[in-house]
């Protein structure tokens, strides 16, 4: 396959950036999308040009490090698939492909296609955990968990923190990411004691980090490579409403 790539090049945070066109020939349909970019970069290096910086690590769709806007779709045209797992057989000979970084206020560009997603870590640090210091745990079987709850918790826990939801959202909202963790922990008995302080802490951190609000556009769940459902945001809203309509420090309310 022969392809025309139009790639966002930006030398650093201060640079304005621009789209640059490259031709890549002899692409195998069995290559992954990132392997196709590897081929381009090898060529650029030998030609004395700067290779295109992009984030990637595991290349098996689980670390969440890669993230590219491909023809305007977060992670590209194949649903339920990260950019690293996208293969060139999804494209046709002669295609022109636009490749851009995630664009959101909370994810500033570092270089080319690399963005800073540190804001996600801040949301987790603000409550996305169960306080259980090492050594304090009771015997694992002392608290049974209904299989349906465990399975549903798992579905939300499958989030890889890639940021596609934010990139796809017209508001640049990180609500699907936040809601996935809130939902996982609120479905489990272990998550109950901190359920309402957690949701307030995480939503506050989300807003402070510069993410936009959720207006139920639903783009996030469509591009999510792990299929985190939009209903998680409904659960978050319910918990948030409960949490803010009562005094969190009043026992038993």
């Amino acid at each position: 396959m022969n392809l025309t790539l139009r790639i966002w090049r930006q030398s650093g945070p201060q640079d304005k950036g621009r789209m640059v066109t490259y031709q890549v020939d002899d692409v195998s349909p069995d290559m992954s999308f990132l392997e196709m970019l590897d081929v381009l970069n090898e060529r650029l290096i030998l030609a004395g040009e700067e290779p295109v910086a992009f984030d990637h690590d595991c290349r098996e769709g689980i670390c969440g490090m890669c993230g590219l806007m491909i023809n305007g779709d977060a992670h590209g045209p194949q649903r339920g698939t990260t950019a690293c797992q996208l293969h060139m057989r999804q494209f046709s000979d002669g295609d022109t492909i636009d490749i851009e970084p995630w664009r959101a206020r909370a994810f500033p560009v570092i270089k080319d296609l690399v963005v800073n997603r540190n804001a996600f870590d801040k949301i987790i640090a603000a409550g996305g955990y169960v306080t259980a210091p090492t050594g304090s745990a009771p015997e694992a079987h002392s608290v049974p968990v209904a299989k349906a709850d465990a399975d549903a918790a798992f579905e939300s826990a499958a989030c890889i923190g890639c940021g596609a939801c934010v990139a796809a959202c017209p508001n640049g909202s990180g609500m699907l990411f936040t809601a996935a963790k809130v939902t996982q922990l609120s479905l489990l008995p272990q998550g109950q004691p901190e359920r309402y302080t957690r949701v307030i802490g995480m939503v506050d951190a989300h807003d402070e980090a510069g993410f936009g609000g959720c207006t139920n556009a639903g783009e996030c769940t469509v591009v999510c490579p792990k299929g985190i459902p939009l209903t998680t945001i409904g659960r978050l809203n319910r918990d948030y409403l409960t949490a803010t309509s009562r005094h969190a420090d009043t026992p038993g309310t």
């Binding site: 990132l34 590897d38 098996e60 769709g61 490090m65 698939t81 169960v130 090492t134």
Partner: protein
């Protein structure tokens, strides 16, 4: 010139004596403690945020130490532990199927082909049960039965069901548990997190590890960081083979730099080749993808009986198929340990019975399981793995058998540590895959997660206190001569790499190095091959330092520069791996020497000559390393030839 010299044996591993069941308890009792008020005055650097590093950093911070954590990824949540699929072993015996701490201990020592330390392995089996409790308390969504209790499954090398799992994403869920505990401590201000930072040198002051030199991968700034103790949790070195199941960024630099500063490197030749990976599809291949070993619970491995049988697998009749693992190993069948399954796949392919376009593949067939359990049940167990397979290969494994082939997956070797997980440099501790300690010559499935979390949550936080009880140590800062020198070394190296401006890319060298290693230091090794490999590695390393082209400069994000530094270290490691493999004139676990096999083609150990840990001491670049032997004594599990027949 001799390839190595031999030095004094290692006399003391600091393991307590007495009955094996009591050793860990004794060590914890005898270890000195640090008063909570004094912990705040002490800093520990932790490099790496995988299962071992993440859990250690969180736990140390919970205990009250100041922790500084470093990772090369953009977030601690992305460390490669996240990709572990199958599960985590623990001796809970919830199945009432005869499991016990002693059986897990026994299976692990045997699975490691009697090349691990009994004391360490017993401790690992003991704390395995605490790990499950800890992770459940954190909200890790393990698979459960309808009654609400935890589900378990079988894994290779065991006849009990002791593997806990979270669909095919166990590593992800365990890592996120540790990550969330770590983020909590970051939020509380107890951990200073430095993502996108790479450790490039160790700082040793008066014989003690006191700090590291790091490069901020975004700004390019190089700084010296100091602490009372340094913990390396930087993972394994499988990427020396270029193609492996490791993440692209996984590298040996942190441990190799420590090795050059005096930490012994143990058993570097022990490499695990995982039997079930998606075969290579072409020259563009940048990494290999694992298909969880758990698939062997329900999938049956076979090749055609005839050579060069190119028919569609569905047209090949039952009587024309060779279910070779079931045939050769009737009692363990498809669940033999990884080293054995991998070599068996290589043997049938060498016979010309491999399948797929490259003929380097065997079938993993789910047709029987789908008939027996129904497609839905298979989907529930392995759905995500089947989808991943289809995305990569374009084939639907519900319809056509998967094609699999062995690939480099895990490295049992690593920095030598004593019972306290301390290296030969005082104050330098090494945990998780980065150390060598628990798996001997072969790791059993679902034991990497167990070891990473055992080290990080339960072992290191106890043993490091014993060291820190003598602290806080004299303050060191960036002006100390050792720090100035370490920093200058890093800067010089970077300048040297940038100045070469040759005509080959870093990746092209890495790929070629990987081919040499796979060919001669992979699934089967021989004296002639290893000697050839050593010559080739040296020649290629010289070429690298003359011809590599690293574009750009050191100021700012430069991914080519990052790779160049890592590949330079892989070159040095590769040579030591081959020397280690050459000197070990026996076959054991993942180390298979063609000259040493039984008439049936199984690994033949030589316990009289090689029942020891090979710990290598660095001398100088280009000079022979010094071999120190740590004898292995087996009081509880008597070495036998491993049989899974």
């Amino acid at each position: 010139m001799d390839l190595f010299t031999e030095g004094d044996p290692i006399a003391d591993t600091r393991a307590p004596d007495g009955p094996i069941e009591t050793r860990w308890e004794r060590r914890r009792f005898e270890a000195k403690l640090v008063n909570p008020a004094n912990r705040r005055k002490m800093t520990v650097i932790v490099v790496g945020t995988g299962l071992a590093g993440g859990s250690a950093a969180a736990t140390l911070a919970e205990q009250g130490y100041r922790v500084r954590s470093y990772c090369y990824q953009d977030s601690p949540r992305r460390a490669h532990s996240i990709a572990a699929q199958g599960g985590i072993n623990a001796a809970k015996n919830y199945r009432n199927d005869g499991d016990s701490v002693h059986r897990l201990f026994y299976d692990t020592v045997k699975g490691g082909d009697f090349r691990s330390r009994e004391s360490n392995v017993h401790r690992l089996a003991e704390v395995s049960v605490n790990i499950i409790d800890q992770c459940v308390a954190q909200g890790v969504p393990f698979a459960r039965e309808y009654g609400g209790l935890l589900d378990t499954r079988s894994f290779g090398g065991a006849q009990v069901q002791r593997t806990f799992y979270a669909r095919g994403q166990t590593g992800q869920q365990l890592l996120l548990g540790a990550y969330q505990a770590l983020e909590r401590q970051i939020g509380l201000g107890n951990v200073e997190m430095n993502a996108r930072h790479e450790m490039l040198e160790l700082i040793v002051v008066d014989g003690k590890a006191r700090g590291i030199v790091v490069r901020d991968m975004v700004t390019g700034e190089i700084t010296t960081e100091f602490a009372d103790a340094v913990v390396l949790a930087s993972g394994g070195y499988g990427n020396v083979f270029y193609l492996s199941t490791n993440a692209k960024g996984c590298n040996v630099t942190a441990t190799w730099r420590a090795h050059r500063k005096g930490a012994y490197f143990a058993n570097p030749c022990y490499t695990q080749i995982h039997p079930t990976c998606i075969p290579v599809s072409g020259d563009h291949q940048s990494k290999l993808t694992l298909m969880s070993e758990s698939l062997r619970n329900d999938g049956r491995v076979w090749v055609p009986k005839a050579k060069d049988d190119d028919r569609d697998p569905r047209d090949i009749g039952e009587d024309e198929r060779d279910y070779y693992l079931e045939r050769i190993y009737p009692s363990f069948g498809n669940l033999v340990p990884r080293d054995i399954a991998s070599r068996a796949a290589k043997n049938v392919c060498d016979e010309g019975r491999g399948v797929g376009p490259t003929k380097l593949g065997v079938y993993l067939d789910f047709a029987d399981a789908i008939d027996r359990l129904g497609r839905k049940a298979i989907e529930a167990k392995y759905g995500n793995l089947f989808e991943m397979y289809e995305r990569i290969t374009g084939e639907d494994p519900y319809e056509v058998p998967m094609r699999i082939y062995p690939a480099v997956h895990y490295t049992m070797g690593g920095l030598w540590v004593d019972y306290d997980l301390q290296s030969t440099i005082p104050g330098l501790f090494v945990i998780g895959e980065a150390n060598f300690s628990d798996h001997g010559a072969n790791r059993l499935g679902a034991s990497a997660l167990m070891q990473g979390l055992a080290d990080g949550y339960f072992v290191l936080p106890n043993t490091v206190a014993n060291y820190l009880a003598a602290g806080p140590f004299e303050k060191v800062d960036a002006t100390h001569p050792a720090a100035v020198e370490a920093r200058r070394d890093v800067e010089d190296r970077i300048q040297r790499l940038l100045a070469i401006d040759g005509d080959r890319t870093v990746d092209s060298f890495h790929r070629e190095l990987g081919q040499i290693m796979w060919e001669h230091c992979g699934m089967e090794r021989s004296e002639a091959g290893l000697r050839k490999a050593i010559d080739e590695i040296r020649a290629l390393r010289d070429q690298f330092w003359q011809r590599v082209r690293v574009p750009g400069n050191g100021e700012g994000l430069n991914q080519s520069l990052e790779k160049a530094g890592r590949v330079a270290d892989f070159f040095e490691l590769a040579e030591l791996m081959c020397i280690d493999a050459l000197h070990r004139e026996e076959s054991c676990g993942g180390h298979f020497r063609a000259e040493h096999q039984t008439p049936e083609g199984e690994a033949q150990r030589d316990d009289d000559r090689f029942a020891y840990v090979a710990a290598w001491e660095f001398t100088a670049t280009g000079e022979p390393s010094v071999l120190h032997k740590e004898d292995l004594n087996f009081e509880y599990v008597h070495p036998t030839q491993r049989s899974y027949k």
